[in-house]
Symmetry: D2
Subunit: 342 residues, 4 copies
């Protein structure tokens, strides 16, 4: 019997509009390395959606690559990046940031979120330290929206953090690997123009939001000098760069990117409701497409026979935290089938 797949939001291909566009443009001839009209059009759509006409936009292939390349491009060798203890760059990128020579300074978090007060306290103490010159110099704050636990920063929270960064001369960089699920969430009040205004650099995730691969960086002008060369140097420049531009051209056609997140969120909300009704314990109050559930190991063993889930971490000897994720491809039937199983 076939399993039900809820392991991640990258287990299928892509939004069908992308395949149609690949087909339609396959024999078009364009310059390489992203210097083509398709990439230009996609960038124009992104700038428009962000209401940031002078923003720089760049396309890369994946999240770790994007984080490492942005950090390398924006920081000097002696500068460091601050992240929540649960930040993706800290624990799940195989040391990519450190490979680039930069230290990740970690701070306590709550449900994946870094509190403005925590950041303020840390920075005040750090820059007051009489041994400051013997340590790395913080230059960037890294957040994720939604966070690694599917939670959201409110507009007010993001604005507070943005203010703190500016007061201390730090760049604010937001990892939007799953940004569609934030933008398409009823609980969210941070728009793309808000992001462009409050952040110095952020990226709009494609891979986990309906593309085959691809992430779109949006940056204030001047923060990423010689970034074309930096991308090439970090192995992120595709000869057929239009493959990335084309996908964002599709995803930012009309409301598609947000709609895709909205639909996945709705299915996740339905599933979350069922889980609570059946007595499951939600580990984190996430309003987006990722559901974290703490399950006792016996129950999990039975569930695992029928459902592909994401292992998150061992909660204790007898319980495991798992992730159930919906995506652009999840169907009502799959949700119903999973509900029947729970």
């Amino acid at each position: 019997m076939e399993k039900l797949w809820f392991g991640s939001d990258y287990q299928e291909g892509c939004d069908p509009s992308i395949l149609r566009a690949l087909e339609a443009t396959n024999y078009d001839k364009t310059p390489g390395y992203g210097l083509d009209p398709v990439c230009e059009r996609a960038k124009a759509k992104i700038r428009a959606a962000c209401r940031a006409e002078d923003a720089e936009a760049w396309f890369l292939s994946g999240g770790t690559q994007t984080n490492a390349t942005v950090i390398a491009g924006a920081l000097r060798g002696f500068e460091a990046v601050i992240a929540a203890q649960t930040g993706h760059i800290h624990g799940h990128e195989a040391g990519a940031i450190e490979l680039g020579g930069h230290k990740v300074l970690t701070l306590p978090q709550q449900d994946g979120k870094l509190a403005a007060a925590t950041l303020q306290g840390f920075l005040s103490a750090y820059f007051a330290d009489k041994n400051l010159a013997h340590t790395v110099q913080p230059r960037m704050v890294y957040l994720s929206q939604p966070t690694e636990y599917g939670t959201l920063y409110s507009r007010q929270e993001l604005a507070q953090i943005s203010d703190i960064c500016r007061a201390f001369g730090l760049l604010l960089y937001v990892d939007g690997a799953r940004l569609a699920y934030a933008l398409g969430c009823p609980a969210n009040d941070v728009t793309l123009p808000d992001m462009a205004q409050l952040c110095d650099i952020f990226y709009i995730g494609g891979t986990k939001c309906g593309a085959l691969l691809g992430e779109a960086i949006v940056a204030r002008p001047g923060l990423l000098p010689h970034f074309f060369t930096v991308i090439k140097q970090h192995g992120g420049l595709l000869a057929k760069g239009r493959v990335l531009g084309l996908q964002f051209d599709c995803l930012f056609e009309g409301d598609r990117y947000v709609a895709l997140g909205r639909r996945a969120n709705a299915l996740a909300a339905r599933l979350r409701k069922t889980l609570l009704e059946k007595g499951y314990t939600l580990t984190v109050p996430s309003p987006t497409n990722q559901i974290f559930v703490t399950v006792d190991n016996e129950r999990l063993a039975r569930l695992g026979e029928r459902v592909v889930y994401g292992f998150w971490e061992q909660a204790d000897e007898n319980h495991t935290v798992i992730r159930l994720a919906t995506s652009w491809a999840t169907t009502d039937e799959e949700i119903a089938a999973l509900e029947a199983l729970l």
Copy 2:
């Protein structure tokens, strides 16, 4: 009037079989990060084509990324790689190898090729140097097949270099960004099994040989420890890794990969003949899909109005070396139109 595009072999999309496969499998659900059955099947086909059942195979996105990741994965921090002065890793990868901490030691070349005698002489002198411990330790020889100038190593030449590498304890690594055009060339006598036998590591190019993106690394077991982690650390791990595997699954279906190179080579041969008849000077005697022509600048200005070509280098004040390239997508009609223009 539309231009004729001969600027590179990455100006179009991909072999149509790839689009069909993307379409057919779009809703299939698979694990991420290349741990899926499609990647496994593609690897099996590659191993079979190489007659190397125990070889390791890995998929990455582009050439610079592949070179930097392989070199980082195979070398210790104090080790260096040897390349021809014209080697892609030396001049055209924005310092990606040095970013990884490794020095590229360059040797003289002829038509893009490193001669066995040159290598032997260099290594003998290097390891005899009484100041050896004060310098980087050579650990790898980097070649390209075809070379950056479209020329080919013969089986005998490759075997000689392989013997020298083994005698000095060096790894032989071959960059096959355009390997299809070598394998599909009448002048070539180096087969994939030869590559697997003579090289320690090599890669089979996808991006410039009919894929949207992707390169396939083939390595003797044990040379790339923890390479999954190394790939992730270098930003080369795609969440939807199957996008790469699927393309090699298509390209290695039957004879497709080699046939694609054979056809582009035949069109290039026809074009080369016409160029010679019309009195053009071929810069390098390349038998594959890239043609290097030295053109006087006036003639080039006129040509440039109708033809997209690749700028290679300034030959002198009045002459420029340009590249004309054919690909899987070049048509007989395009060749005829270009011939009419020349």
Copy 3:
């Protein structure tokens, strides 16, 4: 009025025997780069003191340089080092380890010490994590003896950690920047031969133990391949390498190195007793030459007019942790004068 200097153990020159030896050998002619008889003799003394006749020994200039070079020399690019949250490599080396591309994984500590149980629990969970391949691979445990807080690992504690390291295939590396103060401490039961037996690599501190500069690395054979070249590559190779060897030759003449620590510890013990009698709060129960005291800020302001102390950290709004350190150069008179002030 002159101040009393208790700010650190590196505020004076060096043990007078070193100056005499520099004078006596100034016109001797020797090969450069540490390949001289003085370095050889110093290494022989160190091997004898460690009862490790086959150990490799190397001399470097300072602690951060030694840590960064040893870690770079022993680890592959994807490997990480584990340290206590208070480990010197984590917070006080300006990101030198990350500059070399390696992540520092931090664990909770008590009085500067990493507990064996903490390490065991962390490693068990880490290697059981199903996402292990997506993270850095731990390969080394870093400890300090004495710790950054002047505390000591007992022989049993060190043996337990050593056992855990070997069970998990990790190297144990001990930073002995102030090792003289451990070896010369009545509370200590870890000898140099114990260190050589239980650790894979450790270093014997010179700079903070009576030398002008210099640290001596002791390593099991084979763990630091091509280390001469690695040292040069990291900027740690002195042309006049004998300057380092000569100092260890002096410090390891007879009992000098340990005696020097013993004397400074005795003065610190006397000072510690006085501090307790006068009602000061010792922050950490350190038995070696560093005393950490939590002082209220008003009292500290007065003290600061007469005494040079080391700022450690802000304890709270009204209290500061300071360090008072004795060294080979501290005199009974200085201690008496400080006692009078307290």
Copy 4:
């Protein structure tokens, strides 16, 4: 019978004034890390000698460390340094510059010198290349004064190179590992104030010019941001930083630094004259303390029984290039003894 030592200028200790100063100040108490009055006084003397009152000055331990740290401190990750093929950073520093992520672009040289015309031609072509964005961005020119072959740039030559650098927006950095031998050479017309005016950064060598260890960096303000931290991060910060300052305080007392070079040069000139009279072939017309002689291997074997010389390179099957060097410590008697042997 004892050998005659002419292998290098780092085979003895140091100028006796340094030992006297170490002795006189041994019990002085000062802050660590170079933040002491001795370092300040030495910096003031250096600024005065350079007539550059606003110059930044820093002390490091050795040449490779200085080069790597300056380049890391002045360049962004995507920037490269240009050097003569014979530049020390290219062939004799074990890849230290590449370890820091920077490519060394090499140019042809004559007797160790880079010609202004060569540089001008290279830069014009490089920045005109249409593929410029795919390559590293040159940002610094590295020269040595004297060069690795003991030759000298004239004031005019240095001014031309300085002009080219400024025209192209490049920094000019000069490695003065043996600067005393340039400054103390009758053939030299480049003064310290010239250096400070024409270069952006240079260093005044100590190790090979009479110090035990130490190099003094002189830089225009603002080019090395957060350099204290950069030095620490690169392992170059000595806890007892005064050890370096003290030596430059001695060497820059009156005319000592230049006088020391002058004396060694005079002895070298005498030796050079004798070599020519006896029919030896000077490999390079060096006017400073290093003499490069091409010797047939039989003669060399005999010489080697009595004289310690520096191996430079194999000239051909039957001849070797060796280096004979004088230093602050060379005596008239040693020269006479060597002359008798030749």
